[in-house]
């Protein structure tokens, strides 16, 4: 197991280098001079030159990259042009909101998606199966932006049950905080619910057709025992991978959700950064998110290997 983990981590190094290089080049490829845009219409040529020099934009590209690489390796993502604050500190300030939102959405997705998928598989080709499939497809194809708006209109504006936007105030009690997360988590979670339900359904169907299930039935075991002990356990193994990958998607989906619900998370920081043309911030955030994604994937792979001994075996004695 240790060897497997080590190997997976070493494999990450070229990936990370490539990610850093891409983040750097992406920002260079974007047209327009950041100095000119940031200094605004009244700036004179000498101000722009001074600003470019301050940012090191006047140096050759490979030199700029080496400086950037060295900084990134030391955990320095640069200084935001607009906020004049370290990009990493800006990101870390907002990370808890995004993580909370993504995890809540994941909990919603899992707790609706898995039972729905299991039910659909057990009542294969029935009305329920059809309903789950249709709903899952709707969830998958619903734009977060639109769905979020609809949630606000129904639950805040019409019914007045839940607050529409912003973070709760912890001094007003736990409910205030929780209530502010319900609608955004639903809006975000609905996307993954569909995926997880569909995946659970097909995985469960596959398992239910396996010989050992038939054997279990033949032995006269109770149906519920067969379903939950034997079938579900095995069916869930691939679902876990999907859940892990969904976490990555949720982090990405948070960009829109946070904008609709005015939550101060990474997504909102990114959108603001793009609109303000804060190149350093966007670059830093792209990199940070990519690294986060890579590590979530690593964690999923390791967890998967832990659950499924077959994968570990491949690396034994290598």
């Amino acid at each position: 197991m240790g060897k497997y983990v080590a190997k997976r981590i070493i494999q990450l190094i070229p990936t990370l280098f490539f990610v850093i290089l891409t983040a750097f080049l992406l920002m260079k490829l974007i047209p327009g001079d950041p100095a000119m845009i940031l200094l605004g219409p009244q700036a004179r040529a000498e101000d722009i030159a001074r600003f470019r020099q301050q940012l090191g934009l006047d140096r050759p590209l490979p030199v700029q990259f080496l400086i950037y690489l060295k900084r990134v390796l030391m955990g320095d993502l640069g200084i935001s042009l607009v906020y004049r604050q370290s990009v990493l500190s800006l990101i870390l300030e907002r990370l808890p909101v995004t993580i909370t939102l993504s995890l809540c959405a994941l909990v919603i997705a899992v707790s609706i998606g898995i039972p729905a998928g299991v039910m659909a598989a057990m009542k294969h080709n029935s009305f329920i199966d059809l309903l789950v499939t249709i709903l899952a497809l709707m969830g998958l194809s619903m734009p977060i932006f639109w769905f979020g708006m609809m949630l606000i209109i129904v639950f805040s504006l019409e019914l007045g049950w839940l607050p529409a936007v912003g973070l709760g105030d912890p001094t007003k009690g736990l409910w205030d905080v929780v209530s502010h997360f319900i609608l955004p988590s639903l809006a975000l979670g609905i996307l993954s619910t569909g995926t997880i339900a569909r995946f659970t359904r097909s995985s469960m169907l596959e398992v239910l057709n396996q010989d050992y299930i038939r054997t279990a039935y033949a032995k006269g075991l109770r149906r519920t025992l067969i379903l939950y002990r034997h079938a579900l356990r095995n069916a869930l193994v691939p679902v876990i991978t999907v859940i892990g990958l969904q976490l990555g998607n949720l982090l990405a989906g948070a960009v829109l959700t946070e904008t609709v619900f005015a939550l101060p998370g990474l997504g909102k920081l990114m959108v603001d950064g793009i609109f303000r043309r804060d190149y350093m911030l966007v670059q830093g955030e792209v990199l940070f998110t990519a690294i986060l994604y890579i590590f979530v994937n690593l964690a999923v792979d390791i967890a998967y290997a832990f659950i499924n001994p077959k994968i570990r075996q491949t690396y034994r004695g290598v």
């Binding site: 974007i30 047209p31 327009g32 001079d33 000119m36 845009i37 940031l38 200094l39 605004g40 219409p41 009244q42 700036a43 004179r44 101000d47 600003f51 042009l81 607009v82 906020y83 004049r84 604050q85 800006l90 300030e93 907002r94 708006m149 606000i152 209109i153 805040s156 504006l157 007045g160 607050p163 529409a164 936007v165 912003g166 973070l167 904008t259 609709v260 619900f261 005015a262 939550l263 101060p264 998370g265 909102k268 920081l269 959108v271 603001d272 303000r276 043309r277």
Partner: protein, 512 residues
């Protein structure tokens, strides 16, 4: 009759009881823009400027109409005949808010010198670049010497970027000053959760009239439609910007109203004066005559939050000319066709490209222009570009035409100089390369006079010449529209989009 008079007086008495402002109201402001800094020297955006005004004050300030400049920290001022030396007498007894590094000491001329020099040195937008140096004459008198005569200097001083800050706090906190802002203003910042909300409380030691508001809470909601929903559901009392399509929703709700004022902004099409088909005046005139501007504006703003523009100076500016429409060619498609024929485009269309950034309204406008002008003989391609590419292409006069959006101080200088002076060629403002020596001369005259009436004449004359040259096709001025809960009292929107809760002549409160 007598009875009626008595009952009227009684009624008026009760009405005044109901409407009497109290000193304990709290207001919640919803803003679609998110402040980035609380350090006046560092700010670059409207949202930051707006919240900073609670804490910081300038020597002079605009009222809510942004027409009149009022004394604030300066009681009076004088300017030398050459418009280069500006001397300010400071108000006595104004104290800074208490902070970590000073205990509410009095503001003196040294603070003005320090604040201006700080703004010149560290401001990323090169604020106060026209200032040569600042002299302290005595404890309450300060002289600002400019590099060249500059009439709009007072307007520049109304900008919160030129606010007076305490040296001890700036040096003590260094780059953390933005998180611990201390000024002379009517409110103190007590909480700032980035991207989420901000809380200000009344400064009980404030030198001026006591604010009615005890607390101001800003909530930052980036999506304008959601912002309107927050107003309708009562989560906020004022919203920064109402979309045209949301106006009916506000009108249908008895608790809120849309308040509007002519804005300090202009949207237009700028044509290339250096190359391409638009160098021919007949082509430009055909362009002007081929577009039904009233119709275009009606399509883009069906609920009336934009009005057709006929010149570059917006209605929010004191130099706005109510007769500006008389310089306009008018809509006449037949004449347009004939002009193109004269210009040698008989049978073949004028091919040109209009560039537009990713602003939905401007993109829509470009498409409407494309279809309107097709009927008179143009074949227009619409290119929508991301902002960086857009400014890169347009500022180098590489575009046949581009849609420009411009918003700034209410002084006409900022709408005429930056867009039409020949020295501004190669910038986004004058990306068409417009060059008219007579316009240059009028602009320079406008810069070197302090008489507002006289300046108005210079700029209006310049505007007339610009419109006659037909390089600049004005599209619309957007109204500044705030969504306001009817419980909010004493508020009016400002043409520069700033939500002013406390300003000369304004002291907002909220009814219970």
């Amino acid at each position: 009759m007598k009875r009626l008079a008595v009952s009227l007086i009684v009624l008026a008495f009760f009405a005044s009881l109901v409407a009497a402002p109290s000193y304990d109201s709290v207001i919640r402001v919803g803003s679609d823009q998110n402040p980035t800094t609380m350090d006046p020297a560092m700010y670059q955006d409207l949202a930051s400027a707006q919240v900073m005004r609670n804490v910081f004050e300038t020597l002079v300030a605009y009222d809510a109409d942004v027409k009149q400049i009022h004394p604030l920290l300066a009681e009076s001022w004088e300017v030398s005949p050459d418009l280069k030396e500006w001397t300010f007498k400071l108000r006595k007894g104004v104290r800074f808010q208490k902070g970590k590094f000073q205990d509410g000491r009095e503001v003196t001329a040294e603070d003005v010198k320090y604040s201006f020099e700080r703004a010149i040195t560290i401001s990323p937008m090169v604020r106060l670049y026209m200032v040569d140096h600042v002299e302290v004459l005595d404890r309450y008198t300060v002289k600002v010497v400019l590099k060249y005569p500059y009439a709009p200097f007072l307007t520049v001083l109304t900008d919160v970027g030129a606010a007076i800050v305490p040296k001890e706090e700036c040096e003590g906190w260094k780059d953390q000053f933005t998180l611990h802002p201390v000024g002379t203003g009517p409110f103190k910042m007590v909480e700032w959760v980035k991207d989420s909300h901000m809380v200000f409380e009344r400064n009980e030691d404030y030198w001026g009239e006591r604010p009615y508001l005890k607390q101001i809470i800003y909530k930052f909601i980036p999506d304008k439609s959601v912002l309107t929903m927050a107003l309708l559901s009562g989560e906020v009392d004022i919203t920064s910007d109402v979309l045209d399509q949301d106006i009916p929703k506000l009108n249908a709700n008895p608790n809120v109203q849309a308040m509007a004022v002519g804005g300090c902004n202009v949207y237009a099409v700028y044509m290339n004066s250096m190359k391409g088909p638009t160098t021919d005046k007949r082509v430009r005139e055909a362009f002007f005559r081929g577009i039904d501007i009233e119709q275009l504006v009606k399509v883009i703003f069906p609920n009336g939050t934009g009005i057709a523009a006929y010149g570059p100076i917006p209605p929010g500016s004191w130099a706005y000319n109510p007769n500006v429409k008389s310089f306009y060619t008018g809509y006449d498609p037949e004449k347009a066709k004939q002009l193109l024929k004269e210009a040698g485009y008989d049978g073949k269309p004028v091919k040109m490209t209009i560039y537009t950034p990713e602003d939905p309204n401007r993109r829509k406008a470009a498409v409407i222009i494309q279809s309107m002008l097709k009927k008179v003989g143009f074949e227009i391609e619409v290119q929508s570009l991301e902002w960086g590419s857009f400014t890169a292409v347009t500022s180098k006069a590489d575009a046949d035409a581009y849609t420009i959006g411009w918003t700034w101080y209410p002084d006409p200088e900022f709408f005429i100089f930056y867009m039409f002076h020949s020295s501004r060629k190669g910038t986004y403002g004058n990306g068409g390369g417009y060059n008219n020596p007579e316009v240059d001369r009028l602009i320079e005259l406008g810069e070197s006079s302090v008489d507002q009436e006289q300046r108005t004449q210079y700029y209006r004359k310049a505007e007339e010449l610009i419109m006659k040259d037909l390089y600049y096709f004005p599209l619309w001025h957007k109204l500044v529209v705030n969504g306001v809960n009817k419980k909010v009292r004493g508020y009016k929107p400002s043409p520069d989009m700033m939500i002013r809760l406390y300003a000369p002549g304004t002291n907002v409160w909220v009814e219970k």
